[in-house]
Structures are given as C-alpha cells and as structure tokens.
Amino acid sequence: MSTYTRSAARGALIGLLCSGMVLLSFPARAEIIGTESMVATEARSNDLATVQAFMSRDEVRAELQSFGVDADAAALRVAALSDAELQQLAGRIDQQPAGAGALAVVGIVFVVLLILELVGVTNVFTRI
C-alpha cells in the first residue's frame, strides 16, 4: 500500500473518530489535562492527540510485527512508549535510524567505509 493511500486512509479514520467523539459526549468524567501534554512542545488539540496516539499504538504494533518482533513483545513494547515516542515511530519504522554497531556493515558499504577509514575520515573499524 502506498504511503499516500495509507495517510489518506489514516486521515479519513481520524476525522471519523473525531466526529464520533464530538457526537457521543461522555457522561461526567473529570477532564484532567495530563502532565505529558502540558509539557509537550507541540500544542495540539487534545482530541486529535488522543486519537492519533490511539491510532499510532496500533500502527506501530503492526509495524514492529512486520519487522520481525513477535506479537506479545510488540504489544508490551508499544504499551511502554510515551505519546511523543509513538509519534516519532508511527509510519517511520523503515526509515528510523536503528543502532546496530559496526558489525552490521557489509558488502559495498564495507569497502567504501574501509577505504575512508584508512585515509582517516571515519572511525568504524577500530579494533574489530
């Protein structure tokens, strides 16, 4: 599925959920603004942030699974993420920098970096 259709679908679903939230006004339940959203750098509508966090949790869990994390672990991992961390990962798991270490370097990249290493530009292979 292309990124465009995915984000369009996501947009439509967020819209749907938002309008649903407005229509179904929940009975008396104290509306406390949590500390996390009070100190968040981005000012967003609470509704939108809640809906997005809800959506992102599912999205990130599915993405982790598609990158080989098993289902139970993925659920626990997503539950541990803050709203800001969820936003950081949602839809970007394939591009997010993943720390692996120098042992991960293979193929043509290895050759290029080895040459750069020998001329003193990089520092990848010290004492391996």
Binding site: A40, A80, L103
Partner: protein, 324 residues
C-alpha cells in the same frame, strides 16, 4: 628578534586553532574521570542497543543482562534498535531517561557526577550511516580522549575530535539514567518533568510522584512540580490532595490548564460553585485551543451536574483550602 616574535605569534595562532577544533566546547579546567566500575557487556551481532542499555541500567544498580533486553529493544527486520524504544525500555525498569544538553561538557559533567552516559553515534558518513550505541565512561584531558564501553571493546579510547564528529552525525543524542529521586545536575525543570511525565501517562503513579516530589525540592518556587503532583493525585482519583497541590501551583502562577484541572477535581468533590469560578477565571486568560477544548468539556460536565437535581455540599476541608 622581530622574526622570532612573528614566528611565536604564528605558532600561537596555529595552536589555538588546533585546540579549539579538537576540544569543541570542553572547558580546559574539567578534570580527568573514569567510571571503572561500570560493567561491560560485549555486543552480539547487531545488538549494540541491548548491550549499551544493559550497561547503563546495570550501572544504575539493577541486575540486567543484554539478553533480557533483546525482546524489548531489538528489531530483527532492521538489525538494530530505535532511540525511542531505548528510552521507553529504561522506563520499564523505573529509571528516568534524561536527555542531556548537546555539549561535550554536559557528558563530562555527568561522568563527574558518577553516571555513565548512553550516546548514539554515526560511525560512518551521513550518506552511509553506521548507527551505533555506546556508553561514555571516561574523559582524559591529557590525551584529549573519551573512554567508551563500545561494541566488543571494554575500554575503547576515542579522540574527542572523532567522537564529536560521529556524535554530531547522530544529532548529539545523549541520555543518562537516574532513579526518580535523583535529578542530574544538568537537568532543567521542563526537561526533568517531560522525562518523568510518561510514567504518569503509563499509570506508574509511584515513580511519577517521586520524580515530581524531587522536582518540588530542587525547584521550590516553581509551579510546575505542584501542578504535576496534582495531576498524579487526580489520576488516582485522590481529589482532595489534588486540589491542595493545584492550589499551591496557582498561587505561584495562574494558568488556564491548571484552573481546568482544579475545577474538575472540585466538581468531583461536589464543590460546583468553586469549580465554576475557576472556569470563569480560566476563560479570561484566553487559553490555547487545546486547553480551551478541555475547558469547554469541563464546563458542559458542570452544567450536567448542576442540572441533575442532586444536592451536593462542598466539604469543609476544601473550603478551608480555598480560603487560605
């Protein structure tokens, strides 16, 4: 004579130029330090993330091994670990992951405070990145180098210049782990509360509360720690202590969000008039949209409660609190 002076001047200029590029933002008076007792776990395959995280968790007094962390931070399909998950996993062990200011000085200051620093590095190039987690444990001004627990090296020495370049290519990301009671020297109030607040959202009230109490001690005049303490009480439906904390916060700084939260807590206690007056005050502050949405909801709940015909009396303790 003249030529010797000129030569000395040129040499001095060259030396300063070299020094300033090699010791970027490290003041010369910072003393050598090495946290030798920091444990070391050699990384397996692509798993520098679990190894580096285990190092800082173990250094903070926990018994954790890299293999315990693999299922929490390693992503097989990406052969690596994400920064977001590294800090989230630290929280699962009740450690507060505090981001450091992006200076070498902040790293060395943490070492001098006895805490090793988890860093993210790009050992390759911007276009050919080699992402790596390591733990800085030492600084040696004599050789202008840092000592790291890194990969399969217990004591990897890296010149400041090389470290700085690799760190720069990874956006200068550095994190230190502390218990909720011990705020690092370099932390800002906003930064500490932001690092602790996820505990509240994740329902770990006790950790959040002790982090906020530590903040209230460190910044005794600030409103934010009191607000946060109020929020953690309110989240557990302890409405009276919540109102007490919000009241202290509001005496220090009037804020529409805090007024909204106090109004909600007051409503739960049956103090509808006091809640209404908080909401009226908040409206006059022309709040941001997000806060305005919450205020609107709180007001409609208040309307519903006022119209349900049930007789409520505001407890004496609350009236005394508000009258203070």
């Amino acid at each position: 004579m003249w030529t010797r002076r000129a030569a000395a001047l040129v040499a001095a200029l060259l030396l300063t130029a070299c020094a300033s590029s090699a010791t970027r933002s490290l003041p010369p008076q910072m003393a050598a330090v090495e946290l030798e007792q920091t444990p070391f776990f050699a990384q397996a395959d692509y798993q520098c993330g679990p190894a580096a995280l285990a190092t800082v968790l173990a250094a903070s007094g926990l018994e954790v091994l890299p293999r315990d962390l693999v299922s929490q931070v390693y992503v097989p399909g990406r052969h690596g670990s994400f920064q977001a998950e590294m800090v989230a996993a630290a929280r699962r062990y009740q450690r507060v992951p505090v981001p450091l200011p992006q200076t070498l000085e902040a790293i060395v200051a943490e070492l001098q405070g006895g805490r090793p620093v988890l860093v993210f590095l790009n050992l390759g190039l911007r276009i050919l990145p080699v992402w790596h987690y390591a733990v800085v444990v030492g600084y040696d001004p004599a050789t202008r180098s840092l000592v790291l627990r890194s990969g399969r090296e217990r004591r990897e020495r890296m010149s400041i210049a090389r470290f700085d370049a690799a760190w720069q290519r990874a956006e200068r990301w550095a994190v230190t782990l502390t218990t909720a009671a011990a705020i690092p020297a370099s932390a800002t109030l906003q930064g500490w509360i932001a690092a602790s607040a996820p505990f509240e959202s994740l329902g770990q009230w006790a950790v959040a509360e002790s982090a906020y109490r530590a903040a209230a001690e460190r910044w005794p005049q600030a409103a934010l720690p009191q607000t946060a303490l109020g929020n953690v009480q309110a989240a557990q439906r302890k409405w009276l202590p919540a109102v007490a904390a919000y009241t202290v916060a509001l005496k220090r700084a009037v804020d529409a969000g805090v007024l909204n939260n106090r109004a909600s807590a007051l409503m739960e206690l049956g103090c509808l008039d006091a809640a209404r007056s908080d909401l009226d005050r908040a409206r006059e502050l022309a709040p941001a949209i997000a806060v305005g949405v919450s205020l609107q909801r709180t007001r409609s709940q208040l309307g519903a409660l006022s119209a349900d015909g049930i007789q409520r009396t505001c407890p004496q303790a609350v009236r005394e609190l508000l009258a203070q």
